[in-house]
């Protein structure tokens, strides 16, 4: 599910992948509201009876192509400001091997898999939701509606509020930043922050929480 306000932005990736599974577009980021997704890639598991058996968590498919690319890039060829971003990005940690191993175990063992969580644990592990978080979701949905109905400019104040009220939600921030500075999501005069500024605050090694099997 592509968390893209602009569905066409997701099209080239979907068509390149030629998926045999359903590949959908979530313009309003409802996965954030319904399940507690705050970053990508995130995965959640649902069993044959429609019960969630693992809530959202970082879900890299056996490898993390982004961090692989970061490590291959020659930092000495970059301007200083981009070199700083790259050096920070290289600190991002993920557990792709762990996630795939858990997934294979569940595929094989189903309800007997030790990675399948009980309902109470699924709820307990899901993201806390506050009134501010709910209000942020309303602002983000309103913003994406206004953007999609033709006026990107009037979406911005709502997305700014969504960022302020839910500062831990990366999907709200990164999708908004990307409209102003594609790919790099650097600082502009539209928003108060950028990917590099925010990731430096927490340390890129904390960008994804470690998986709790």
């Amino acid at each position: 599910m592509a968390l893209d306000v602009d569905a066409e932005a997701a099209r080239e990736f979907i068509e390149a992948a030629h998926p045999e599974h359903p590949s959908l577009v979530d313009t309003a980021h409802v996965l954030d509201e319904l399940f507690g997704v705050v970053n990508v890639p995130n995965g959640l598991w649902i069993d044959e009876d429609g019960v969630i058996v693992r809530p959202p968590e970082p879900a890299h498919p056996g490898r993390n192509p982004a961090t692989e690319a970061f490590r291959k890039m020659d930092v000495t060829t970059l301007p200083p400001e981009l070199a700083d971003v790259l050096l920070e990005a290289r600190k991002i940690r993920s557990d792709p091997d762990v996630y795939v191993a858990m997934l294979r175990d569940w595929a094989e063992h189903g309800a007997a898999s030790r990675f399948r969580l009980a309902p109470e644990e699924v709820v307990r592990r899901s993201r806390p939701r506050s009134t501010d978080g709910a209000t942020a979701a309303a602002h983000f949905e309103l913003g994406q509606h206004l953007h999609l109905t033709g006026d990107h400019r009037v979406a911005i104040p709502h997305w700014r509020e969504a960022h302020r009220l839910d500062p831990d939600n990366w999907t709200y921030r990164r999708n908004a930043w990307n409209f102003e500075d594609p790919v790099r999501q650097g600082h502009t005069d539209v928003y108060d922050s950028s990917w590099y500024e925010d990731i430096k605050k927490i340390g890129a090694e904390n960008y994804y929480p470690p998986i709790q099997p």
């Binding site: 893209d4 069993d47 429609g50 307990r124 949905e141 206004l146 006026d151 009037v154």
Partner: protein, 152 residues
């Protein structure tokens, strides 16, 4: 059916009647809670129920076994509901874009204080890249891994 998977003590002084599930009980699965966009704060009760899961009954606004008492002003003479009256009582933020004349009614704060109030998956419907809707429940009977990704 019970709406809440919890053994936690629930507040008793906020005017609402909370009823928790017992261990192992699974509540019904709606697509909510998520934000709802409105162009009019007076809404048809059936539409409100379909989009939020809250059904207005004589005892109040009810979702599962939870009922929140409502004042008489919650319902207009024509039978429509006044969202401005309902929203604060249901814990749903209500905000407006004055320029566009559109309101957004935010999801209620989860009964567990978590994004998930139940492990039962909502019956989500989302479009594919060509706009054709796909319903999550159509995959019932299979294991499903939902992966959130993005072009950005």
């Amino acid at each position: 059916m019970c709406p809440l998977v919890s053994t936690r003590a629930l507040p008793t002084d906020d005017g609402r009647q909370w009823i928790a599930c017992g261990p192992g009980e699974i509540p019904p699965a709606p697509q909510y809670p998520r934000a709802v966009l409105l162009d009019d704060l007076k809404v048809d009760p059936d539409e409100f129920a379909a989009r939020t899961g809250w059904v207005v009954k004589p005892e109040g606004a009810c979702k599962g076994d939870i009922c929140v008492p409502l004042p008489e002003t919650a319902r207009a003479a024509d039978g429509r509901l006044d969202v401005a009256v309902l929203a604060p009582r249901l814990g749903m933020p209500l905000l407006r874009d004055d320029g566009a004349g559109v309101w957004a009614l935010g999801p209620e704060t989860g009964l567990t204080g978590r994004a998930l109030t139940t492990a039962t998956a909502p019956d989500l419907t989302l479009p594919d890249v060509n706009g054709a809707p796909f319903r999550l429940s159509s995959l019932r009977g299979q294991k499903v891994v939902m992966v959130a990704w993005a072009s950005w």
